[in-house]
Amino acid sequence: MEFNVKIWRQKNAKDKGHFETYHIAGIEEDASFLEMLDILNEQLIREGVDPVAVEKGCKSSGPVSFDHDCREGICGACSLYIDGRAHGPDDHVTTCQLFMRHFKDGATITVEPWRSAAFPVIKDLVVDRGAFDKILQAGGYISVRTGSAQDANNILISHDQAEESMDAAACVGCGACVATCKNGSAMLFVAARVSSLAILPQGRLEAKKRVKAMVAKMDELGFGNCTNTRACEMECPKGISVSHIARLNREFLKAKFSD
């Protein structure tokens, strides 16, 4: 297969950035999207040192930087806004699990970083998602010291509760929800953590404090508000439901009114 790949290039946070388009051929349809980018990078590096290509006017900005790691859809490192969708055209996958068979041969594919004020660009397609860590540091935990836990089976949790908590806990922290939301809201991300802990008896004791601290931090870091468009749920690679946002709202109101 062959493609024209139109990619956002930006040297650093201060650079204005621009698109560059590259042609790439000989891609197997079973190749993943990131493998396609790997091959493109090989090509860009070779062109950069090839005197003939350079003479012909190849002024490549060098290989494209993009975040990636596990390539199994679980670490949440990969991002990419592909043809106007977070993680590209396939549903419920991260970019690393997107395969070239989902694209038409010969297509032009547009690749951009996550666009959000809270996620500044570091280089090209790489953004700084440190704001997510900060939200979780504000209260996304249960305060248990190492070694002080009781026997695990002393805390009974119904099968359905565990499953529901797990549904929310499946969040990989990739930031697709923020990138997709027209308001740049992190509500689905925050809701996933709040909800997964709020469902469990262990998490109830600190539930009020947790939800208030996390929401306050989210607001402070410049994320937008939720206006219930549900776009986040549609684009979440793990299919995390907006019902968790509803639970977040209930938890938040409960916490507020109990003040």
């Binding site: 390539r71 396939d90 700084d128 836990a149 026997d151 990989v172 469990l200």
Partner: protein, 648 residues
């Protein structure tokens, strides 16, 4: 025993060793803990749990990871589960049995005392994780559910769907976040350790590169803890994350830490087969699938040929024409034999010509019978996300046709040599989790990596590090202006400058792929003397080619992934060579290490206890010089050493 290899295993009965050691260890009072600094490198299960627990104790911790967030560490990708000797199933499990299975699974090449301690603390890990809010799978009555894994006959594996590693890591990461918020831990994401700094022979700090700015920075401490995982990516294609690397461990080795059993690499039997040359990463399908999936190839060659031409589907091959070769060869354990055994059996069938895909390098993992027996819903609950993942990657549904799988590099049992306290041969330097060598011997059992990472981080290092630090609290903070730091930084800078100066034409990845081929062909599932010697020679040649012709574009002072990869590849060359030396020395078949020269008539691995019942600890002797072998003899006082038997 060489002087430096003092294992510090406590005297006395096995079950009392840990208690005894704990009672001997000096304590550090809270006001002194505040004066002490610890560097933790890596934020997987070992690193995150250690940093969180040490911070909670009151030490000043700095924690480093190469990713944009500690939560991305590769522990997150572990699927199937975590073992613990809870005996919740009433199936006669016990600390002893978990210990026994792990020693046996490791083919009698792990330390008894370490493994017993691992089994001993395993139950507390589950308690801790549940208290943290990890949504483990539950029975309808609300109690914790379990499943089985390879190499054992009880159900002791706790799990959270196929995302157990993710949930455990998020638990440790949450504990870490709590300490970061409390100010006891300072987090340095997107930092890569590039050298270890020793002062008067003790570990006192690191040189790290800020990956976002490219700047080299110095960090000092009273002790350094390495928890940077394994070196499976030496093979280029593996189930490891793309950024997983062995560099931190190698830097420690070059500074004098011994590297133990490097040749023990685990080849996992259930990975999605290689599809082509453009691939950069192999995907694991959880071992838990072998609970209900049955592994087979056709009995008849004509069926194999038709399958390869897509003339028939697997489901059309009648039951009597299928060779369930694991059930046939190992009736007692069947599809749940340990990983090394299952991998070699798959290779044996494929080498005999029965591989079921176009490349001839695949076998079937079939859920047809399980779906009939359990029904769609129960199979979906257990494996649904794994089935989805498989279908996304291969465009084939495991509900209709069996999965195709083939072995791939997955985990490295070898690592930095540590004593019972997890201290390396360098005072003040510790190694945890996959980065050390201590618990899995020649082969790791499924669901035991998570157990070891968390055991080391939550329950071992917070105690044992006190023994060293109790002597250090009067020492001032490490001065990063010391000449030792300047010298180390200069060396790192010279390494970087050299890479940029080569200005060759070959990309880092293309050379890494060639290293991968050498490793897989000669230091892979079957090894022999001639091949290993060839590997050493070819790695040296390839390394020379790298220094002549690699191209590292861009500059140091920017986000530069090609530079990151080039620095790691330099280290993979050395690790690859070290693995080959170790494999060459160990002329026996044992666990994941199979020497063609050492097998039974039936083709089973043949161990040589008389000559090789030791830990091979390698000492760095300088650039281009063969490393020196030190031997730590393994003594089995509490377990009878037997030939591993999974047949009856």
């Amino acid at each position: 025993m060489a002087d430096k290899l003092i294992s510090k295993i406590p005297e006395g009965p096995l079950a009392e060793k840990w208690t005894k050691r704990k009672s001997e260890i000096h304590l550090v009072s809270p006001n002194n803990k505040r004066k002490l600094e610890i560097i933790v490198v890596g934020t997987g299960l070992g690193g995150a749990s250690a940093a969180a627990s040490l911070g909670e104790l009151g030490y000043n911790v700095k924690v480093f990871c190469i990713s944009d967030s500690p939560r991305r560490a590769h522990s997150i990708a572990a699927q199937g589960g975590i073992n613990a000797a809870k005996n919740y199933q009433n199936d006669n499990d016990s600390v002893y049995r978990l210990f026994y299975d792990t020693i046996k699974g490791g083919d009698y090449r792990a330390r008894e005392a370490n493994v017993y301690r691992l089994a001993e603390v395993s139950a507390a890990i589950i308690d801790q994780c549940v208290a943290q809010g990890i949504p483990f799978a539950r029975e309808y009555g609300g109690y914790l559910a379990n499943r089985s894994f390879g190499g054992v006959q009880v159900s002791r594996t706790f799990y959270a769907r196929g995302q157990t590693g993710q949930q455990l890591l998020l638990g440790a990461y949450a504990a870490l976040n709590r300490q970061i918020a409390a100010g006891t831990v300072k987090s340095y994401p997107r930092y890569e350790m590039l050298d270890l700094v020793l002062i008067n022979g003790e570990a006192k700090g690191i040189i790290a590169r800020n990956l976002a700015t490219g700047k080299l920075e110095r960090f000092g401490a009273h002790a350094v803890v390495i928890a940077t995982g394994g070196y499976g990516n030496t093979y280029f294609l593996s189930t490891n994350a793309m950024n997983s690397n062995g560099s931190a461990a190698l830097q420690c080795y070059k500074k004098g830490a011994f590297f133990a059993n490097p040749c023990f690499a685990q080849i996992h039997p259930t990975c999605i087969p290689v599809h082509g040359d453009q691939q950069c990463k192999l995907t694991l399908m959880s071992e838990s699938l072998r609970n209900d999936g049955r592994i087979w190839v056709p009995k008849k060659m004509e069926d194999v040929l038709k399958l390869r031409k897509h003339e028939i589907k697997a489901s059309q091959i009648p039951e009597e024409d299928r060779d369930y070769y694991l059930e046939r060869r190992y009736p007692a354990f069947g599809n749940l034999v340990p990983r090394d055994v299952a991998s070699r059996a798959a290779k044996e069938r494929c080498d005999a010509g029965f591989g079921v895909n176009e490349t001839g390098m695949a076998v079937f993992l079939d859920f047809g019978e399980a779906i009939q027996r359990l029904g769609h819903q129960r199979v979906a609950e257990r494996y649904g996300n794994l089935f989805d993942m498989y279908e996304k990657i291969t465009a084939s549904s495991p509900w209709e046709e069996p999965m195709m799988i083939y072995p791939a590099i997955h985990y490295t049992m070898g690592g930095i040599w540590v004593d019972y306290d997890l201290m390396t041969t360098i005072p003040g330097l510790y190694a945890l989790g996959e980065a050390n060598f201590s618990d899995h011997g020649g082969n790791r059992l499924g669901a035991s990596a998570l157990m070891q990472g968390l055991a080391d981080g939550y329950f071992v290092i917070p105690i044992t590090i006190g023994d060293y630090l109790s002597k250090k609290f009067s020492e001032p903070k490490t001065d990063t202006n010391a000449p030792e730091f300047a010298a180390a930084e200069k060396e790192v800078q010279a390494r970087i400058d050299k890479l940029f100066s080569i200005k060759g034409k070959e990309t880092v990845d293309s050379i890494h792929k060639q290293l991968g081929h050498i490793m897989w062909n000669y230091v892979g599932m079957a090894r022999d003397e001639a091949g290993l010697k060839k590997a050493i020679a070819e790695i040296k040649e390839l390394k020379a080619k790298f220094y002549k012709n690699v191209c590292v574009p861009g500059t140091q002072y920017e986000f530069n992934q090609e530079l990151e990869k080039a620095l790691r590849l330099e280290d993979f060359f050395e690790i690859g060579e070290l693995m080959a030396y170790d494999a060459l020395n160990r002329n026996e078949s044992c666990g994941g290490h199979f020497r063609i020269e050492s097998q039974t008539e039936e083709g089973e691995a043949k161990r040589d206890d008389a000559n090789y019942m030791y830990v091979a600890a390698w000492e760095y002797k300088g650039e281009g010089v063969e490393p020196e072998l030190h031997k730590e003899p393994l003594k089995y006082e509490f377990i009878e050493v037997k030939t591993r038997n999974y047949k009856d």
